[in-house]
Symmetry: C2
Subunit: 150 residues, 2 copies
């Protein structure tokens, strides 16, 4: 089963936007993400409806953040993406007539919801600001350790 990396991808894009001065075009973002500009627009279009980003057309246009990095958590982004399934495992039938399957579902349901709740709780504790700080930290120490051009 292939994992859904949209959340990971969106965070990548948002942090690049946070690091930029002006608006960033979907073409530039697509370059960083090694994907297609239309894909970027589709994803960010969804986030715009939640007020997380805004876009401008024409010359000098592009995308910029429209939210407070300190106030937005991974959970908010997850929800803005439509709150897709967090777990890869699921029930074969949601409301089975078979009593065997009812027993199976009942036993697994608790485990599922506990794990999902834990993950989403963790997401709620991580703000975009924290990610951005971590990124800048990595960039700084990366310069010290690896960049010997100057």
């Amino acid at each position: 089963m292939k994992r859904d990396s949209r959340l990971s991808g969106v965070l990548h894009v948002l942090l690049h936007m946070a690091d930029a001065d002006g608006p960033v075009t979907s073409e530039a973002l697509a370059g960083m993400m090694q994907t297609n500009p239309v894909v970027i627009r589709r994803i960010l279009g969804g986030l715009r409806k939640q007020g997380l980003v805004q876009s401008e057309k024409g010359h000098g246009g592009g995308w910029r953040l429209a939210c407070d990095l300190d106030q937005v958590t991974l959970y908010d982004i997850h929800v803005a993406l439509g709150a897709p399934d967090v777990l890869a495992l699921g029930h074969r039938t949601e409301s089975p007539g078979c009593l065997v399957e009812q027993a199976v579902n009942a036993a697994m349901s608790d485990a599922f919801s506990e794990a999902e709740a834990l993950l989403l709780d963790r997401f709620r504790t991580i703000t975009l600001a924290a990610l951005s700080r971590d990124f800048r930290l990595r960039r700084k120490s990366g310069e010290r350790e690896c960049d010997n051009r100057k």
Copy 2:
């Protein structure tokens, strides 16, 4: 993202086998699961290698359990199925060069592994015997409440 219901399906099949007297054919099991006999054989063939079930060919053949219901947990079955991904969410790139993406991955990794560990721990606490007991309980009360043929 579609959820992987193989574990759910296998449990269904195993409990029906536990409830049967003799061996059960893959055709009968396929009927219960509304799928194809070959699919059943493929799945159970994997479990046979782990010693969880055994099969017999020819007349009167079919599948039967080859394990102690008290000793086998959902976790064992999960592993026997190849321990597929538990989470639907994942990293866009596993070892990214981009520092932004490194920061994103680092932040999400902990949440991921905690949620996965929790789910698998819960699976370790549920035995096939417990599921089977629950099933028989449901059947009994179902007879009392709904079955007025006798």
